[in-house]
């Protein structure tokens, strides 16, 4: 009893402090506090996150394994052209993934190194804020999820996402899925889609498909940020990690170790 | 709805069901009863002295059977009657379209309820549901009270058909009123104002009862007037065999002010054209009050026109400005008394125009005739002679909704007058409002009814009077010319009433005329003054 009280008080101060930091009174924090509070997840259950250890990606095969695992189990189509392209997890060179942190004298191998990019499952997701139907929403465990039954295809979320993480089904994907995974549905034309942190696998107690695909070299580490003993927490407290576009205040849930 | 100032129209409805609200005979709202001699002279049943105010209307013993049988006969003869009894859904679209309802606020003047007066009896005696369910199915017994209600309200309808325009099924209360009046006539229940003219017309050829020599001398009096104003001597012919055209017009034009100015207009126009035409003293009535009693009587009066045309050997018939005369000629005459194969399809002798639309009846409306003349420049017109007039045009119910003459008179007026203003669009053309005195209601004892019924029309005139200074209400109907002056004096003083051909004659520059200083009414012409 007394312990709970203490814990609550501690959380209360934490909340106060963070809202002061994020600039109480700004419109975004107002929205954040009302509906999909970025703070609410921290004291309730899990907060899933991923650490991408870029040093462990050595060969092209390392990337491909992860990408293929994800795209196959989620029935992500391959249209073979950039216009219709749909991707959940893919690579982008450092200079594109981190344009603000690029400089002339950066190590060449880093500069052009492909970085694994995917939906950041932000604490403060602008895509969730703008969705007019709550088709995109943030779960208690921090996953920014989509309800494909509800999406009207307005693509406001695509405009709002600063990470280019969202894809739209410009046409019927069905013929472009090479091998269908009958355990997981496809999408219909006219809806937006993106990485879901394999929430369907998490529900079964399995790690995300990409994480599992590289379990040998542990290039992707997945875990609960709210658990101080989790692997992600351990890595983050021991190694220097960066996130994409931190200045936007979205608080991504994907961390990079360069 | 708000109350109107002058009459305090009360649109509130009685608490009680309308079936339980018997008709209250209000003074000024109904006409005198028919006189026995008038009924006798045309062989109508039950001639007797009676007054609508009497408790006892001196009905024959078997009056109820007569009515029910009469209804049965008419249900079998008229699809309109049977259908209109059956298909009304009481949507209420007609309710506020009736000028009598607008002017009186009496709910039984809503066309739907006027028809229900008859329909309720029909249901009782002719439908299974009415017989079985009675009042629940909207049915009621025929009683003397019901009969009196019929008489009161069927003579508060001018058969103007405005409701029919708005009805989604085209239910025409005029049809129902006509049947209702026919049924009443089976018991000798008519009004004096209708029965008298009918008797006159039957015996003497016209409603006013002008005998042939009087008819001629009346017109000769008008000729003198014309000579005074124009210096032109006109010599029309009467009952002349071999003329090309027989001219028929309502006798009101010949006799009464301001219709006689219109009549002078006809005389001047025909003279100027050198038209080969004749008047008839036998068929000296275009109007047909028989139409307000029964189909049969209307036919009996109308028969004279074709008979006279045949006797005189004319080629075709030209009809003057009149409302119900044209409803009858247009929709009934050929069916009753045709085929007029002894006449030939009408052709204007002046312009050569074939009047295709009259090729079977062989009867041409004078507005059609004159519009055609103006179109082909056959008349020399000086519209400035009508510059003292600011004219608006009242569409007569019968020519509007029973015929569709709208543009012809307007075309004429615009060519003979410089100042023409339309009344608001929902009060003209097919939506025109009645003068309030049509279908034989033009008596003096029911003046209150007439003023109330004419209120909507007067109100529209008042609007253009105040907005544009309108001072002349033109029309193509003899009843209008008889009824509207009183209505205008009451509601919109300062507006006179004229037939379109009076305006034509004012503007008509005649060969050899002297310089006109006055119009036909003896009023100085504005342009001369200046």
């Amino acid at each position: 009893m007394s312990y709970e009280l203490k814990a609550n008080r501690r959380q209360f101060f934490k909340i106060l402090g963070i809202s002061a930091l994020s600039g109480a009174g700004s419109i975004s924090s107002l929205f954040a506090l009302t509906q999909h509070s970025s703070l609410s997840t921290h004291h309730l259950g899990k907060r899933w996150a991923m650490v991408v250890d870029m040093g462990k990606f050595k060969t092209e095969e390392d990337y491909k394994r992860c990408i293929d695992a994800c795209h196959h189990i989620h029935n992500v189509p391959d249209f073979g052209n950039p216009k219709d392209e749909i991707k959940w997890i893919w690579t982008a060179p450092y200079k594109n993934a981190f344009p603000e942190q690029e400089h002339e004298y950066i190590r060449d191998d880093i500069k052009n190194k492909p970085f694994m990019v995917l939906c950041n499952h932000c604490d403060n997701p602008s895509c969730v804020r703008v969705c007019p139907t709550k088709a995109t929403f943030k779960r208690q465990d921090g996953i920014v999820a989509m309800d494909y039954h509800r999406c009207i295809g307005c693509r406001f979320c695509m405009a709002a996402c600063p990470y280019g993480s969202r894809s739209f089904n410009w046409r019927d994907p069905q013929p472009f899925i090479k091998e269908k995974n009958i355990e997981y549905p496809m999408r219909t034309k006219g809806v937006v889609e993106k990485c879901n942190f394999c929430e369907e696998r998490l529900a079964e107690g399995l790690p995300p498909a990409c994480v599992e695909a590289c379990k040998d070299n542990k290039a992707l580490v997945f875990g609960d940020l709210n658990n101080p003993d989790s692997e992600v927490r351990k890595i983050l407290s021991s190694r220097y990690a960066i996130r994409r576009k931190p200045e936007l205040g979205t608080q991504p849930g994907v961390y990079y170790i360069v | 709805m708000t109350e109107l100032t002058k009459l305090n129209i009360d649109y509130r409805l009685p608490k009680k069901n309308w079936m339980d609200t018997p008709a209250e005979f209000k003074q000024g709202m109904f006409c005198h009863g028919s006189k026995p001699k008038d009924l006798e002279s045309v062989g109508f049943p039950n001639p007797r002295e009676w007054s609508p105010k009497d408790e006892d209307w001196k009905l024959p013993e078997n009056w109820k059977e007569i009515i029910i049988e009469g209804m049965r006969e008419r249900l079998d003869k008229y699809r309109s009657f049977r259908l209109f009894m059956d298909i009304c859904v009481r949507c209420g679209a007609c309710a506020d379209k009736c000028h009598f309802y607008i002017g009186t606020g009496d709910p039984k003047n809503m066309p739907v309820l006027r028809a229900e007066l008859l329909r309720s009896v029909y249901r009782k005696y002719f439908t299974a549901s009415g017989k079985a369910l009675g009042k629940l199915a909207g049915a009621r017994e025929l009683t003397k009270e019901v009969l009196k209600e019929w008489w009161y309200y069927f003579f508060q309808c001018t058969e103007c058909r405005r409701c029919s325009v708005f009805c989604p099924y085209g239910i025409d209360t005029a049809e129902i009123t006509m049947i209702g009046r026919e049924l009443l006539n089976l018991l000798g229940l008519n009004t004096n104002w209708i029965a008298g003219p009918v008797a006159n017309c039957y015996k003497k050829g016209n409603h006013l009862g002008l005998e042939p020599h009087t008819y001629k001398s009346t017109i000769e009096f008008l000729l003198g007037e014309i000579e005074d104003i124009t210096g032109i001597t006109i010599e029309p012919s009467f009952n002349r065999k071999g003329a090309e055209i027989l001219f028929v017009t309502p006798s009101g034009d010949v006799f009464a002010d301001p219709g006689n100015y219109t009549c002078m207009g006809y005389l001047m126009l025909f003279h100027e054209l050198g038209l080969d035409y004749t008047w008839s003293t036998y068929a000296s009535e275009g109007g047909n009050f028989g139409y307000f009693t029964s189909n049969e009587m209307a036919k009996r009066l109308n028969a004279k026109i074709y008979a006279e045309a045949k006797r005189l050997g004319v080629k075709w018939i030209l009809g003057g400005e009149c409302g119900h005369m044209w409803r009858v000629i247009s929709q009934y005459m050929d069916t009753w008394n045709g085929p007029a194969d002894f006449l030939s399809a009408p052709v204007s002798p002046i312009t050569g125009t074939k009047f295709e639309n009259a090729k079977s009846t062989k009867a041409v409306h004078i507005a059609e005739f004159t519009a055609d003349l103006i179109r082909y420049n056959k008349l020399k017109l000086d519209p400035s002679r009508n510059d003292n007039l600011k004219v608006t045009f009242h569409d007569s119910c019968n020519t509007s909704r029973g015929m569709g003459i709208f543009d012809e008179p307007r075309y004429i007026i615009k060519n003979v007058c410089n100042h023409f203003y339309e009344m608001p669009e929902d009060t003209i053309r097919e939506k025109t409002l009645c003068c309030g005195s049509g279908s034989g209601l033009n008596a003096s004892e029911n003046m209150e009814l007439r003023m109330k019924g004419g209120l909507p029309r007067a109100n529209a005139v008042k609007y253009v009077r105040e907005k544009h200074g309108v001072n002349m209400l033109a029309n193509i109907c003899a009843i209008d010319r008889a009824a509207l002056p009183a209505l205008m004096d009451y509601w919109v003083p300062g507006v006179a009433v004229a037939g379109v051909h009076e305006l034509v004659a004012n503007a008509l520059v005649m060969k050899g005329e002297k310089e006109r200083t006055t119009n036909l009414r003896g009023e100085p012409i504005k342009s001369v003054k200046s």
Binding site: Q140, A145, H149, D172, K180, I182, Y184, P185, M186, T188 | -
Partner: protein
């Protein structure tokens, strides 16, 4: 004027329109739908039954599916049926595991009732 011909023509048209359902089906054998249950998974079941009674499913399966759609939102993935048994909420992995024969099962009635569904825009029917 009676216009008898026109009226009789009209009445015949009227009668044809009203009796059209009768005429349309005249001489046609309208087979009742017969949804097939003979998939391997069902064959192996000891007790062949769906998650709710047959009657309930017939009338209400669409509502059930509609409710199941919401599962993705609240992460509630378990359906407890009227007799207290739990099932995983998933069209793909629960319903279609047994009813893998969508053509013979689903389409049978939907075609019969002329009900167009858009489930298969996303959900994968196994080719049988």
């Amino acid at each position: 004027m009676y216009d008898g011909n026109k009226i009789i023509t009209g009445l015949i048209i009227f009668a044809c329109l009203v009796t059209f359902p009768f005429l349309y089906n005249f001489g046609k054998a309208n087979a009742k739908p017969d949804p097939k249950l003979d998939t391997p998974v069902i064959q192996q079941m000891k007790e062949k039954r769906c998650i709710e009674t047959k009657e309930f499913m017939r009338a209400n399966h669409m509502q059930l599916l509609d409710e199941w759609r919401e599962a993705v939102r609240d992460g509630k993935r378990v359906y407890v049926n009227s007799s207290g048994e739990s099932y995983k909420i998933s069209l793909q992995n629960t319903c279609l595991k047994c009813h893998s024969n969508t053509k013979e099962f689903c389409d049978e009635c939907h075609d019969y009732m002329s009900v167009k569904i858009y489930c298969w825009d996303c959900h994968i029917r196994v080719k049988s």
